[in-house]
């Protein structure tokens, strides 16, 4: 699943490690989500959305559409 995590992170000048710390996950997890290799669960997606102050669909792109 495509997402805008890298852009959103860059806008805030956060490293992957910074974002991982804020989400309470490993940096490897952030990297896997960012590169689209791993789709986060709904709770984690909501956590990301809250962190960036956006809606989930503004971060993740539904590839089925």
């Amino acid at each position: 699943m495509k997402n805008r995590l890298k852009v959103l992170r860059a806008e805030r000048d956060w490293s992957q490690a910074d974002l991982a710390q804020r989400l309470e996950v490993s940096r490897q997890s952030v990297n896997a989500i960012e590169t689209g290799k791993f789709d986060p669960s709904l709770p984690l997606a909501f956590k990301l959305a809250r962190l960036f102050g956006l809606r989930i669909e503004e971060i993740f792109e539904d590839s089925g559409q």
């Binding site: 490690a17 309470e24 996950v25 490993s26 990297n31 896997a32 989500i33």
Partner: protein
């Protein structure tokens, strides 16, 4: 902000493996070698106790995995472990099936004590490395 290298659950998992499971493996290998070297054939309750001890590392291994999965909050790390375990279980079961089927047609040596556990551990180690490398 310092990056998180490993989760607390992962540290606990590694400690359990290092200080409980590995010594159990060593004990089992020593017991197995002693039994075969001295041609000992325990009977009744001793046979049951020996069997329980020989299978304890494998059972402990699986127990530690379960405990880790229930403690780990990072869903991605959980996914990595589940993938590695599935590979290890799959290969171990396939080799077991094949060896059993081979025994139907040929006279093949019986699998030695804990050989399935050792195979599981080796495949788990390899698949764990490969899985982490894929998502590095």
């Amino acid at each position: 902000m310092s990056p998180r290298v490993g989760s607390p659950a992962m540290y606990r998992f590694e400690n359990r493996m290092l200080f409980v499971i590995v010594p159990l493996y060593v004990l089992v290998v020593i017991l197995g070698i002693s039994l075969s070297h001295f041609h000992l054939h325990p009977t009744r309750i001793w046979a049951v106790l020996c069997a329980a001890l020989l299978s304890s590392p494998g059972i402990g291994f699986i127990f530690c995995f379960g405990l880790y999965l229930s403690e780990e909050k990072d869903e991605f790390q959980r996914t990595l472990l589940v993938q590695s375990i599935l590979w290890a279980l799959g290969v171990t079961i396939c080799v077991g099936f094949f060896w059993f089927a081979l025994g139907t047609f040929f006279h093949v040596p019986q699998m030695k004590f804990a050989s399935d556990e050792i195979l599981f551990a080796v495949v788990y180690a390899v698949s764990s490395l490969v899985t982490r490398w894929r998502y590095r």
